[in-house]
Each structure stands twice: as structure tokens, then as C-alpha cells.
Symmetry: C2
Subunit: 207 residues, 2 copies
Amino acid sequence: MSDRARGRRAGGPDTRGQILASARSSFARKGFGRTTIRAVAADAGVDPALIHHYFGTKDDLFLAALEIGVDPREVVPRVFGPGLDGAAERLLSVILAVWDDPQTGLPLVALVRTSLGADAAHNLLHDGLIRLVFTPLQAMLPADEADRRAQMAATQMLGLVVARYLLRFEPLASMSRSEVVAWVAPSVQRYLSGPLPTLDEEQRPGE
Amino acid sequence: MSDRARGRRAGGPDTRGQILASARSSFARKGFGRTTIRAVAADAGVDPALIHHYFGTKDDLFLAALEIGVDPREVVPRVFGPGLDGAAERLLSVILAVWDDPQTGLPLVALVRTSLGADAAHNLLHDGLIRLVFTPLQAMLPADEADRRAQMAATQMLGLVVARYLLRFEPLASMSRSEVVAWVAPSVQRYLSGPLPTLDEEQRPGE
DNA sequence: GTCTATAGACGGATAGAC
DNA sequence: GTCTATCCGTCTATAGAC
């Protein structure tokens, strides 16, 4: 991001990178549907036709913009390797670090924003991103509790991400990573390894 | 919903209600941007022009579809009146009940999905919905901790809502209200009244 | 009340000149 | 490589007939 996001394309025409940067920004801010090729082109200072020339269709551009700098298969073992104890803290630290970095965070914001805008059916979110962290997580949990524990943990991390990076709540968005981890980790850890909740027999169906 | 969502408009032409029901459904599933007047009209079995005739512009239709059956000023005191103790459980019970009911839930799904798809700037979500529950909540908390405690609680509730009603994770979406409350309430309650997290002095900025 | 016809704007995609 | 010109589709919205 250091050499291409700054200013207009200097001398060496890194037009392709310029387009990618503008696309990432727009996809992250507006999602797929509200991003237009024309707007991306204008922001990058090039002609709309160039984008098709380089990337093909709008979908192709979106996929190209999702290319990310981290390989999940490398980071996942570091989080879950040491065991369930402290896993929440390690997981949250990694997640926040990845999302705080614009290079890796912007594509993820674009992915989440686009997925939430579309139908629940074919979302990249569940089949792609979440599955990546779910599968190894579930493998560490008792089989009959794995689904519930992992999904409850997911709700907390998803809500954190949405509030901090999509809606940009303050002061949450400006808090340090370590403070956020200190607040949230106990909740996530309880979902992973805390006691199962005891259900009251009386369930009031209506309100 | 019982008399108008079922089948085509019977004899008495409740066309207006039919349109509203279709609009709510589409706004909830696709958000504002991806909802088209034409599709709503087709789903309601009427002509697109009729929608303009009844409701005016697309924005007007959206606002009409957001009309909801619950008055927050009535339910809020019931949740926060008894005090901070057990507030999380009461709050979650109400939230889940409102969202589980299609009559009140669909407009809320539409609101959240649309807000998340748009820019962070002018979102109805923060200025409308969340503010409604935030203000009375913050009034019960120590002034210097109110923002943080309320926002951390908001992340959990937001993530729960997104996962259960927008993304429809399973088994989460099919779990009973009381089971969800049993899982999540302790987390929310800790944000509201638990001990403040202790921050380590050493903050590793990188990674 | 309900529908037909159409205006007017916008965006994706392509062909082809330079 | 980069841009001009343009086609085609989709959508909102309106005017007006029945």
C-alpha cells in the first residue's frame, strides 16, 4: 500500500495497482452492488474501459480485489495449536490485527459488506471466511457441542467486526487492540470452554 | 400478517396491504438497493405504477414498510426499570421476541441490511434503532464507563441479530429463544455490570 | 382504481481507433 | 496500453387512457 496508494500514478504507470486500490476502497465502503466501474475508474484516474481490459467483468474485478496478503492455513495453527486454553485471546488478537491493517482489512470489509447485502443463500461469508476459522475450531470441541459453541463465538466476533469496521462505532473503532481483546476475550472463551447453559423447563413461547 | 400474507388478494382488494407485505419481504431479503419496484409489484400481483400511486417514490415505500408494531417507549421501561441486575436477560428476551415475529422482525431486518450496505455515514441503524436502546441503557451505567460498556454489549447483540436473522446460521436460527438467551445473556451482563478489564502495560502494536 | 406507454437516467460491456 | 463511441439492458417515475 505504501507505494501505490499515495498520490497519482507517479511515473511508472502502475495503473493496474491503482485500479485495484480504488476498487478495494469502493467495494469496502459501498459493497458490490453500489460500486460502479465508472466510479472506480474516475477515482483511479483512468478510463472505464481500461478496467475491463485489465480485469474483465465486474465480478472478476471483485474477486481480484479480494486477494489478500494472509494465508489462513499459516495463521490458523498458531491460534489453535496451543490448545483451547487462551484460544479466544489469540484468535481475537489475530482477527483485530488483520482487520486493522488496511491492506488486509479493506478486502475483508468489502467481503462482509457485500455478503450482508445479498441473500442469505450464496454468501461468500459463510462458505469462505467463516468456514476457514470454523472448521479447525470445531475440531477442538466436543462433537455434540461444537456447532453451538462455535456459532455463539462467531456471533460475538461478527458483531465486533461489524461494529468496529463497518459501522465504525466510537469509541470502539478507536480503541486499542489490546483493550478490545481484554473486553471481548472472556465472552468468546466462555462460549468455547465455559459451562453449558442450563435451560429452564418453562419456555414461554409468546413474548 | 395472518389475513393478508396468505394467498392472493381474496375478494376485498387489500391491494395496499398486499403491496406492503411484498415490500417488507423484499426489503428484508435484499435491502433497499437490490429491491426493485417491479419485483415488489410482481410479487404482489399488481402493476408497478400502482405502487407509485399508493406510496409515491421508492423511498416513501421503504419508510412505509418500516412502520412497526412496537412502541419502544413502552417496552424500554419494562426492560430497564427493574435495574441493572438481570437486565441482559430481559433485554435479550425482548429483542429476540420482536425479531422472531415476522410482523415486527421483517422491517427490522430490512433496516439493518440496508444500513449495513450503505456508507457508515447516514445510517438509520445507529441514529435510530440503536440509539433507542442505548440512551436508557447508558443512563444506568457509571458515566465514565457507559460508552464502552454499552458498545461492547451492542457488539454482542448486533452479532447475534446478524447471524440469526440475516445470515440465518444453523442451528442458531432454529434454536429456541430461551436457549439463545441462556447462552448469550451472561456475556451481555458482564459487559454491563462485570469488572472492568485490566489492561496489560505491554501492548504489542505489530501483529 | 388499475393498467399501458414511455420518458429519462444509469451502468455494464464491447468494438475499434490511436 | 489507453481512450472514444456506442449498444443494450434495467430501473424509477410520470402522463394519461380505460
